[in-house]
C-alpha cells in the first residue's frame, strides 16, 4: 500500500462532486469504491476520511442527503448533487485544469528554447 498516492489536500471534495455527477445519487461506501476504481486503484483512501468531506459539502450546500435503500437492500444514506454543487464542480474543475496546465508547462521539456 505504501507506493500508492495519498489523496491530495482539497481534491477529495472535487472527486466526490465529480463522482456524484457521473453516477448520480450514491451512498458513502459507493462513492468511496467508485473513487478508488476511477483512480485505477492508484489512490489509497481511508474510507473514513470521506465522511467529514461529505458533511462539509453538505454544510456548504453542494450536496444533499436522504436515507434510502441500497442495491443490496441495505438501508443507506444517499447523497446527490445540488444545483450549487454543480456550479462548484464546474468551477473546481476549471480551476484544476488551469492549475495542471500551468504546472505542465513548467514541467514539460522546453520546446522553443
Amino acid at each position: 500500500m505504501g507506493d500508492k498516492a495519498d489523496v491530495w489536500q482539497g481534491t477529495l471534495a472535487l472527486m466526490v462532486l465529480k463522482t456524484l455527477e457521473v453516477v448520480g445519487p450514491s451512498h458513502g461506501y459507493g462513492i468511496a469504491r467508485r473513487i478508488e476504481q476511477t483512480s485505477g486503484n492508484l489512490l489509497s483512501l481511508n474510507y473514513g476520511t470521506l465522511y467529514p468531506a461529505l458533511l462539509k459539502l453538505e454544510q456548504e450546500g453542494a450536496i444533499s442527503s436522504e436515507w434510502g435503500v441500497s442495491e443490496n437492500n441495505r438501508k443507506a444514506k444517499f447523497y446527490k448533487l445540488t444545483r450549487a454543487g454543480r456550479k462548484q464542480l464546474d468551477k473546481g474543475a476549471r480551476d484544476w485544469e488551469q492549475a495542471t496546465a500551468i504546472l505542465a508547462r513548467f514541467l514539460s521539456p522546453a520546446e522553443e528554447a
Partner: protein, 877 residues
C-alpha cells in the same frame, strides 16, 4: 455566504440542535454492512470481512471523532463542557459558591451604586450643550461670598463685559395658579429674555422667550415645564396659545420645555419674564437675581472672573455708597454645590472603596483556600497525565462563572439601591433626581469582578500546576505552603484594618449626627403645623388688605379645638436663610458689611408664644403697632449683645429698612440658618408697619399653628378657613416643624444609614475572614495538635494557642487601622460638627467591637482544635 452557512451548521451541531451522533452512527453501520457484504462475496470469512471493513474505514472511533469535529466547533464544545463541569463543581460546594457570589455582590454592588450616584452629581455634564461654558455670577459682599445681583449691577456687568457670549439672570418665583379648579401654589422662575438661549436647550413644543417678551409692557407669556404640562394640562398640545391665570394675571402659554430641562431646580414648573422697567434699576441694594452666563468660546473661567472683578471695582468707584465692598464671584455651574453635599458623597465613595477592599480580600482568601484544598487533587490529576491547559481552563471557567453570577446580582443590588440613595442628590442640581443606572459603571464593575476572580481563582491553580506533580504530592496539603499562609494573614489583617477604619469613621459621624440632632434650634418643634399661603400681588398690595386676610384666618384658626396659638411670619427659620439686612446704629449708613447684618422677618403678634421663643424682656407686638405709630422691633439677645452689651436694650433705636425702629422686646436667639450654623442676630418687625406696595416678598406667608393634639388632624378645617378668607388662595408646603428641622439632618442621616450598613457588613466580613483563616490553619495543624496533646499539652494550651493566633491577627490589623482611622477622622473634621477626631468613646468602642469580633471568629476554630482526638488525628494520614 457559504462560510456563514457552514458556521451556522456547526454551531447548531455544537449546541446539539442536530441529532448528528446517532445518525452518523447509523450511516457508518450501513457503510460497514455494505463493505462486509462485498467482502463476504469475495470470499472472506465473516470475521475477516468485518475486520477488513473497519480497517479500510480507518477506525470506527477515529472516524466518528473526525466527523464530530467537522460537525461542531471544537472550541465551543470544549467551553460548554468546561462550563458544565464548573457548574457541577460550584453546585457541589454551595457554601463556597454562595459566599463568593455574596462577596462580589456586596463589594461591586455597593461601589456601582455609590459611584453612579457620585458620577451623576459631581462629574457628569449637565444637560445643556457645552455645559462647561456655563458659569454662575454672584455679587460678593463682605461676609457673604455668594449674594444675588441687583438688577442695576446685572445690567452694568452685562453691558460692560466682553468675556460672555451671553449673560442672563433668573429668580425663583412661585405663583398661584387659579381658574382651574382648586387654586394651587406652583414654583416657577422669573427669567430674563435671553435665559433660554444662554442655556441653549430648545423648547419641546412651541418656543421659548425672546428679548421682546422681556420688554417693559410686553404681554404676559409663560413657558411650562414638561411636568406641569403633563399633570395640569394632560399633555395637551392645544394648550399653546391659551391663557392661564397666575396670581390673577393672564399669561399666554408659548412653549413647553423638554422633560429633563429642570432649571434652576427640579421644582421649577414654569417660567415668566421679568419685564424690568427703569424703576427696577434704581435700587442697587435690592439683590435678588441669580446670574448665569455662557462664556465665549476659548475664554477661560479665570479670564472672565478677572474681567468681571475689574468691572465690579469700577462700579465700586462709580457708586461708592451702594456698592461699597461689592465684588463678584464667578463659579462654574457644575461646581455650584455646597461643599458639604460634595463631601458627604466623597465620604460615601471612600466607604464603598473600603468595602470593596474588604470584599476582595475576603474573596481572595476564599479562593486561595479552595485552591489549596484542591491542590492534592490537582497533583494527582497532573501526575496521572492530565493536561495543564485543560486544568487551567477549568479553573478559568469556574472563576468566570462566579464572576458573572456575582456581577449580575451586583447589578441587581445597585439598581435597587439607586432610588434609595437618590435623596443624596442635592435639590439645587438642575438634573433628574434618580440617576439612571450607568452602563459604563456596570461594565467597569463587571471587569473589576472578573479581574479579581481570575486573579485569585486562576493564579493559585497556575501556581499549583507549576509546583505540583510529584513534589505537590510529597509535600501534601498539610503545610499548605508557608507563603500562602503569610499572604492570607496579610489579607485578613487588611480586612481588620479597613473595618476598623470604617467603624471609627462611621462612629464619629454617628456622634456628629447625634450632636447636630440634639442642637436646640431655639424654638418649639413638636405639635407645630406650618403651611404656606403666599398672597398674590398686586391684589394684596395694600398692607391693610393683607392685615385683613391674616386677621380673619388667625382668628378662625385660633378658635379651632386644640389650637393654643397661631401666627404668621415672612419665612420659617431653616426654610429660608436669606433676608439679611444691614443695621445702622448711631446714624451710620445702612450698607451691609460683614459685621452688621441681621435676619429680618415680619411677624404677627403671637409668633413668639406659638414657637415657644421666650421673651426675655419687654413685650411682643400688638395689633396696635400700626403704620401710623412709631416703628418698633423685637430683637434677639445676640443683637443686643452686639450693639448694647451693657445697656438697657428696651427703648434703643436703630436704622433698619430705611426706617428708624425702637426696640420693644428682646427674645431668645433661634437658629435661622440651620442646625449646623450660627445665625445672624434676628430682628422681627410688626406686620402692619410696612408701606403699601413695599417689600412684597417679605409679606408674611407662613402660617404657624401650635396645638395640643396631632396638628395634621386640623388640616381640613384650616383649608376651609383659608378658602373662606379668599377662595382663590392656594395652600402649599404643609409640613410640621419637626419635618422641617428633621430635613436639616436628612442627608446626614441617609449617609449615616449607608455607612452603618457598610460598617456592619465590613466587621462581619472581617470576623468571617479571621474565622476562615483560623479554621483552615487548625484543620491543617490537626496532626501537630494531636502530637502536642499526646506529648502532654493540655486542652487549655491548644485553646490559648489558637485564640492567641487570632489575637495576633486582630492586633496586627487594629494598629494600622487605628492610624488610618485617625487620618480619615482628620479629613472628616469639617463634617464632625465639633466632635473631636480622636474622640475617645468612638475609638474605644471600635477597638472593643473589633476584639469581640476577633474573639467570636477564633472561638469555633479553637474549640475544634481542642476537640481533636490525638490518636484519630495521627492515624488519619
Amino acid at each position: 455566504m457559504r462560510k456563514l452557512r457552514v458556521l451556522w451548521g456547526r454551531l447548531r451541531g455544537a449546541v446539539g440542535a442536530t441529532p448528528a451522533d446517532d445518525e452518523f452512527a447509523a450511516e457508518l453501520e450501513s457503510h460497514l454492512q455494505m463493505h462486509t457484504d462485498d467482502n463476504l462475496r469475495s470470499g472472506m470469512t465473516p470475521e475477516q470481512a468485518r475486520r477488513n471493513a473497519i480497517l479500510k474505514l480507518g477506525g470506527l472511533e477515529q472516524t466518528k471523532q473526525a466527523y464530530r469535529e467537522r460537525n461542531t466547533i471544537p472550541f465551543i464544545e470544549a467551553l460548554l463542557s468546561d462550563v458544565r463541569y464548573a457548574l457541577r463543581q460550584l453546585i457541589r460546594s454551595p457554601g463556597f459558591t454562595m459566599t463568593a457570589i455574596l462577596l462580589i455582590t456586596i463589594g461591586i454592588g455597593a461601589n456601582a451604586a455609590i459611584f453612579t450616584l457620585v458620577d451623576f452629581v459631581l462629574v457628569r455634564p449637565l444637560p445643556f450643550p457645552e455645559p462647561e461654558r456655563l458659569v454662575k455670577v454672584w455679587e460678593k459682599h463682605p461676609g457673604y461670598p455668594m449674594m444675588e445681583l441687583s438688577p442695576a449691577n446685572y445690567r452694568d456687568l452685562k453691558a460692560a463685559n466682553t468675556s460672555f457670549a451671553a449673560l442672563a439672570a433668573y429668580s425663583g418665583n412661585s405663583m398661584n395658579l387659579v381658574g382651574r379648579g382648586e387654586p394651587q401654589r406652583i414654583d416657577g422662575a422669573q427669567v430674563t429674555g435671553n435665559l433660554f438661549s444662554t442655556l441653549g436647550r430648545p423648547a419641546l413644543i412651541g418656543r421659548y422667550f425672546s428679548e421682546d417678551d422681556d420688554k417693559a409692557g410686553a404681554p404676559g407669556k409663560v413657558v411650562l415645564s414638561y411636568a406641569l404640562w403633563q399633570t395640569e394640562f394632560a399633555g395637551d398640545g392645544n394648550v399653546l396659545g391659551k391663557s392661564i391665570f397666575l396670581d390673577n394675571g393672564p399669561y399666554t402659554v408659548i412653549g413647553i420645555m423638554p422633560p429633563d430641562f429642570l432649571f434652576p431646580s427640579r421644582e421649577t414648573q414654569f417660567w415668566t419674564t421679568f419685564k424690568f422697567q427703569e424703576g427696577d434699576y434704581q435700587d442697587r441694594d435690592n439683590n435678588y437675581l441669580a446670574g448665569i452666563g455662557r462664556l465665549k468660546p476659548r475664554v477661560s473661567l479665570a479670564k472672565a472672573r478677572s474681567e468681571l472683578m475689574l468691572i465690579a471695582a469700577r462700579l465700586q468707584r462709580q457708586y461708592p455708597k451702594e456698592n461699597q465692598g461689592v465684588d463678584v464671584s464667578v463659579i462654574a455651574l457644575r461646581d455650584e454645590l455646597s461643599t458639604q453635599s460634595r463631601f458627604l458623597l466623597k465620604v460615601l465613595c471612600g466607604a464603598a472603596l473600603s468595602m470593596l477592599v474588604i470584599a476582595c480580600a475576603n474573596l481572595a482568601n476564599l479562593l486561595l483556600t479552595r485552591s489549596l484544598a484542591r491542590q492534592k487533587e490537582l497533583s494527582i490529576r497532573l501526575s496521572l497525565g492530565a493536561n495543564r491547559r485543560h486544568i487551567l481552563r477549568q479553573f478559568l471557567s469556574e472563576s468566570l462563572l462566579l464572576g458573572f453570577a456575582g456581577g449580575a446580582s451586583a447589578v441587581g443590588v445597585a439598581t435597587a439601591a439607586l432610588p434609595l440613595l437618590s435623596r443624596l442628590v442635592p435639590n439645587s442640581l438642575p438634573t433628574q433626581q434618580v440617576p439612571p443606572v450607568d452602563l459604563r459603571m456596570l461594565l467597569f464593575a463587571l471587569s473589576l469582578t472578573l479581574t479579581i476572580v481570575i486573579l485569585f481563582g486562576v493564579a493559585p491553580a497556575l501556581w499549583a500546576c507549576r509546583t505540583a506533580g510529584f513534589g505537590g504530592l510529597r509535600v501534601g496539603v498539610r503545610t499548605g505552603g508557608a507563603g500562602h499562609h503569610r499572604l492570607r494573614s496579610v489579607l485578613v489583617m487588611a480586612e481588620v484594618a479597613v473595618s476598623v477604619l470604617l467603624l471609627i469613621s462611621s462612629g464619629l459621624l454617628i456622634r456628629a449626627l447625634w450632636k447636630v440632632q440634639s442642637t436646640d434650634p431655639g424654638f418649639r418643634t413638636n405639635n407645630i403645623l406650618t403651611l404656606h399661603t403666599e398672597l398674590p400681588f398686586p391684589k394684596y398690595d395694600e398692607t391693610s388688605v393683607r392685615a385683613q386676610f391674616y386677621g380673619k384666618v388667625l382668628a378662625d384658626v385660633r378658635r379651632l379645638p386644640g389650637v393654643t396659638s397661631a401666627a404668621y411670619i415672612t419665612a420659617l427659620p431653616m426654610e429660608w436663610r436669606g433676608g439679611i439686612w444691614p443695621v445702622a446704629v448711631g446714624g451710620r449708613d445702612q450698607i451691609l458689611t460683614e459685621g452688621n447684618g441681621a435676619s429680618a422677618r415680619f411677624v404677627t403678634p403671637g409668633f413668639f408664644s406659638t414657637l415657644g421663643i421666650p421673651i426675655q424682656s419687654g413685650r411682643d407686638f400688638s395689633e396696635t403697632d400700626t403704620a401710623d405709630r412709631p416703628y418698633v422691633a423685637v430683637v434677639s439677645e445676640s443683637f443686643v449683645r452686639r450693639y448694647w452689651p451693657n445697656e438697657q436694650p428696651i427703648g434703643q433705636h436703630f436704622g433698619f429698612d430705611l426706617h428708624d425702629r425702637e426696640i420693644i422686646g428682646v427674645v431668645r436667639d433661634i437658629r435661622v440658618r440651620g442646625l449646623e450654623r450660627t445665625s445672624e442676630p434676628q430682628v422681627y418687625l410688626g406686620y402692619k408697619q410696612v408701606p403699601d406696595g413695599m417689600l412684597a416678598w417679605y409679606a408674611p406667608k407662613d402660617l404657624v399653628i401650635h396645638s395640643s393634639q396631632a396638628p395634621q388632624s386640623l388640616l381640613p378645617a384650616i383649608r376651609q378657613i383659608i378658602r373662606t378668607a379668599d377662595a382663590d388662595q392656594p395652600v402649599s408646603n404643609v409640613r410640621t416643624m419637626e419635618e422641617i428641622v428633621g430635613g436639616e439632618t436628612e442627608s446626614r442621616a441617609i449617609q449615616m444609614r449607608v455607612l452603618i450598613a457598610f460598617t456592619a457588613v465590613a466587621i462581619l466580613l472581617a470576623g468571617l475572614g479571621i474565622y476562615g483563616l483560623l479554621s483552615f490553619a487548625v484543620s491543617m495543624r490537626q496532626q501537630e495538635f494531636g502530637i502536642r496533646m499526646a506529648l502532654g499539652a493540655g486542652q487549655g494550651d491548644i485553646f490559648k494557642m489558637v485564640l492567641g493566633q487570632g489575637a495576633v491577627l486582630a492586633v496586627a490589623g487594629l494598629l494600622p487601622g487605628l492610624a488610618l482611622a485617625y487620618m480619615a477622622a482628620r479629613l472628616l473634621e469639617s463634617l464632625l460638627a465639633g466632635v473631636r477626631p480622636a474622640d475617645a468613646l468612638t475609638f474605644s468602642t471600635a477597638i472593643a467591637l473589633c476584639l469581640i469580633t476577633t474573639l467570636l471568629g477564633s472561638l469555633v476554630p479553637a474549640l475544634r482544635a481542642v476537640r481533636a482526638d490525638p490518636t484519630a488525628v495521627m492515624r488519619a494520614e
